[in-house]
């Protein structure tokens, strides 16, 4: 987010801004306004922190007057739903002992905030791309087709040969529009990784939406949990190399308007990936709770027990927590500016 530096001269102010209001009538709320009521209803459920929720914690008091976008994004417009992305793990298919996926890069206009369109580049028609999930040590094969009008690649984080690294000039290099290639390597090390396009200009190819989470489960697996994927991203809608819209899984305020529903005392595991461009850091903060933090998920012991983590570009980590109380709990970037520009949501903890 860039802050405007322009100072106005007094004269300009005189001309540009003046006047008392002659009470003008005829206001019409802009469309997509159904949300306002939805949010009100959602907040009414918690009843200002009192009522049935006597344990507190969920207490968001008052009306969310000054937060949030106006309207809602209908998932049918984007043909992907951040609510589904949350728990959508793509394990591909195993053929002759090799785990395989098909990925296609395409150009697609998506709605990143209510009514605000963005010409994105997407793997398999969604931003973030599919969450690819494998087990440590498996042989992986990813067939990539470039259905866009610009050269693209897929660069996976992990340990593999240079030829399979998906960067221009090495191995298959840039994949021209209409062309295909196959990336093949072993799933190692276990942990939470990411994949993204590595064509130049790099920031643009990533910022436009060519990224996704890449999970390699340890051989012995992890404890049973309600698992969630959260890809923290942003969109530079006016091409000034700073983001206007911030989100988790693309749509601003998605989980603010439609909270993430989890169960009380259930172990919740969040696969958190930062794919933000233009801003150096992003962060995650949960209210009224603490979590075990596993940076990059490459060790089985948590490094930290905290309620806030900071992630640089391309950084990711696992969060494990349980909610001891029912109610509504906010989570957001503790970079407050990002929070108010869309990266803010709620957990709805049910009994």
């Amino acid at each position: 987010m860039k802050i405007g530096q322009g100072k106005l001269s007094r004269r300009k102010l005189l001309g540009g801004a003046a006047g008392a209001s002659a009470a003008l009538g005829l206001h019409q709320a802009i469309p997509h306004d159904g949300l306002h009521h939805a949010v009100d209803d959602a907040f009414a459920q918690d009843g200002h922190g009192g009522g049935h929720d006597i344990h507190g914690g969920g207490g968001v008091t008052g009306h969310p007057l000054h937060a949030g976008t106006v309207g809602t994004v209908d998932p049918r417009v984007n043909k992907f739903d951040p609510q589904e992305i949350l728990r959508d793990f793509d394990e591909g298919s195993v053929v002759n002992g090799v785990r395989e996926w098909e990925l296609v890069a395409e150009e697609k206009t998506i709605e990143v905030a209510p009514g605000v369109k963005y010409d994105a580049w997407a793997y398999n028609g969604r931003v973030p791309g599919p969450t690819l999930r494998a087990r440590e040590g498996e042989r992986l094969r990813i067939r990539f087709t470039n259905g866009g009008r610009h050269p693209h690649t897929i660069h996976f984080h992990g340990i593999h040969t240079g030829r399979m690294d998906g960067v221009p000039g090495v191995g298959a290099g840039n994949i021209a529009p209409g062309e295909s290639t196959t990336y093949e390597f072993d799933a190692t090390p276990f942990g939470l990784h990411l994949y993204h396009c590595h064509s130049m200009p790099l920031a643009e190819h990533i910022a436009k939406g060519l990224y996704g989470a890449f999970i390699i489960d340890p051989k012995r697996g992890r404890a049973e949990a309600d698992e969630l994927v959260m890809v923290m991203n942003g969109f530079d809608t006016n091409f000034d190399r700073s983001n206007e819209v911030y989100a988790v899984n693309t749509v601003a305020f998605e989980y603010f308007h439609r909270p993430v529903v989890v169960r009380r005392d259930q172990l919740v595991r969040i696969y958190l990936v930062n794919t933000l461009e233009f801003d150096l850091v992003n962060s995650f903060h949960v209210h009224a709770n603490f979590f075990d933090y596993f940076p990059t998920g490459t060790k089985l012991e948590p490094r930290d027990f905290t309620d806030t983590v900071i992630l640089g570009q391309g950084e990711r980590g696992l969060l494990e927590l349980r909610f001891p109380y029912t109610g509504r709990y906010m989570f957001h970037a503790h970079v407050s500016e990002f929070a108010e520009l869309g990266w803010m949501g709620f957990f709805q903890v049910t009994g």
Partner: protein
């Protein structure tokens, strides 16, 4: 058939005149209907909004925007100081030259600066800065009363005081009358230049699609020509009346000449004061006007000289008619009140630019009217005394103008 060839039909001449217009209308209709055949648009729509007016109420920022581009604009979200804010808007889609009122819920704080960004459907942002936020005064009776008082202070009273120089100017000899008239012209020239510059500056702040700075010059040309026309018409009437009249009426006709010049001066100054009132009213509405003694005193000095300009042409009139003089004073001063009302409640940069232009044009016409009267006995226009008067007029206005920079 036979009848038609035998007797050539006489078409009225207007048919020949209207035919190209009709053909043009049909051509335009077809062109629009077929969506400009052969012309494909290159590139994406450009969204250009300008914020014409900002109104601040408790917990609300109200923007009046105008679309000055060729393509329709849809405002979809509003960002205030790096946070999305809830809002409503009067027009979901703003067409070319169309306007919309956008009401943003925001707990703004007195005295702080804000950056409002309008995020459109295509992701374009329109930035608007609010400096030192302060509540916009409500448009109630008290408010109009206050604006009237300001107009009275800066327009009517100073002009009236300036007119009290009349007894003095009646007493001085012809040479010094010429000096005073030259002084008046210098003063008017200053006002005209100031109006043109101010109008041009204001014009850049509004929607350029309406013409921008061209509005100032169009207004000036229109006012100049309109006043010239009125003057020519008045002279024509007087000439024909004088021909038919006896000596007595002729004498009275000549006697009115000074008042005619004074009336023109008053109109020119009145139009100028309308613009001045506009600037004051709009500055007051955004809280950038320090409503203090300095401002009022400054304007009083500045505008008192305008009163002198009105009475200078009537110096040689035999009768000082009080009602006429009062009327002249009102014509010159009262528009400041009207200007303050408009400026504070319905400010629009394009309109203000046009008004400043009209003021400048009117003054230019007045200068043309008065100029012949400063000729000396030898018929010279720029004799030393006249040049001295002109320069003094410019200097006095410059000096008093320093007191009233808004």
């Amino acid at each position: 058939m036979e009848a038609a060839t035998a007797r050539p039909t006489r078409r009225p001449s207007w048919v020949a005149g209207a035919a190209p217009l009709a053909i043009l209308a049909v051509a335009i209709g077809l062109f629009v209907l077929l969506d400009g055949p052969g012309l494909d648009r290159i590139g994406v729509p450009r969204e250009e909004l300008s914020v014409e007016r900002t109104v601040l109420k408790p917990n609300e920022i109200q923007l009046h925007v105008r679309n000055e581009g060729a393509d329709p604009v849809q405002v979809r979200q509003v960002i205030v100081n790096d946070g999305f804010a809830r809002f409503t808007q009067s027009d979901d889609e703003i067409g070319r030259l169309g306007g919309s009122e956008i009401d943003v819920d925001y707990p703004w704080i007195e005295g702080q600066d804000y950056e409002v960004m309008l995020l459109t459907e295509t992701g374009t942002t329109i930035d608007h800065q609010i400096m030192a936020a302060t509540e916009t005064p409500g448009a109630d009776l008290d408010f109009y009363g206050l604006m009237a008082l300001i107009g009275l202070y800066v327009g009517v009273i100073p002009v009236a005081i300036g007119m009290l120089w009349l007894p003095w100017v009646r007493g001085v000899d012809a040479r010094w009358i010429r000096f005073l008239l030259a002084f008046t012209i210098g003063l008017l020239a200053f006002l005209a230049i100031e109006a043109l510059l101010e109008g041009s500056q204001i014009a850049t702040t509004g929607a350029q699609a309406f013409g921008g700075a061209a509005l100032v010059w169009l207004g000036a040309a229109t006012a100049f020509l309109a006043l010239a026309g009125v003057d020519a018409w008045l002279r024509g009437r007087r000439a024909s009346a004088t021909e038919a009249a006896d000596d007595d009426t002729r004498e009275r006709g000549r006697a009115g000449l000074g008042y005619r010049a004074a009336l023109l001066v008053a109109i020119g100054i009145g139009l100028h004061n309308l613009g001045e009132g506009l600037a004051i009213g709009s500055a007051y509405a955004v809280g950038s006007l320090a409503l203090g003694a300095t401002l009022v005193v400054g304007f009083a000095l500045h505008n008192t000289t305008e009163g002198l300009a009105i009475v200078a042409p009537v110096a040689r009139e035999r009768a000082a008619r009080l009602t006429r003089l009062a009327l002249l004073g009102l014509i010159a001063g009262a528009p400041a009140i009207l200007g303050a009302w408009i400026g504070a409640s319905a400010y629009q940069p394009g309109l203000a630019a046009l008004m400043f232009g009209i003021g400048a044009g009117a003054i230019a016409q007045v200068v043309v009217q008065i100029a012949p009267q400063i000729r000396d006995g030898a018929g010279r226009l720029l004799h030393p005394l006249a040049v001295g008067g002109l320069l003094t007029g410019l200097a006095v206005m410059y000096a008093t103008g320093l007191l009233v920079s808004l």
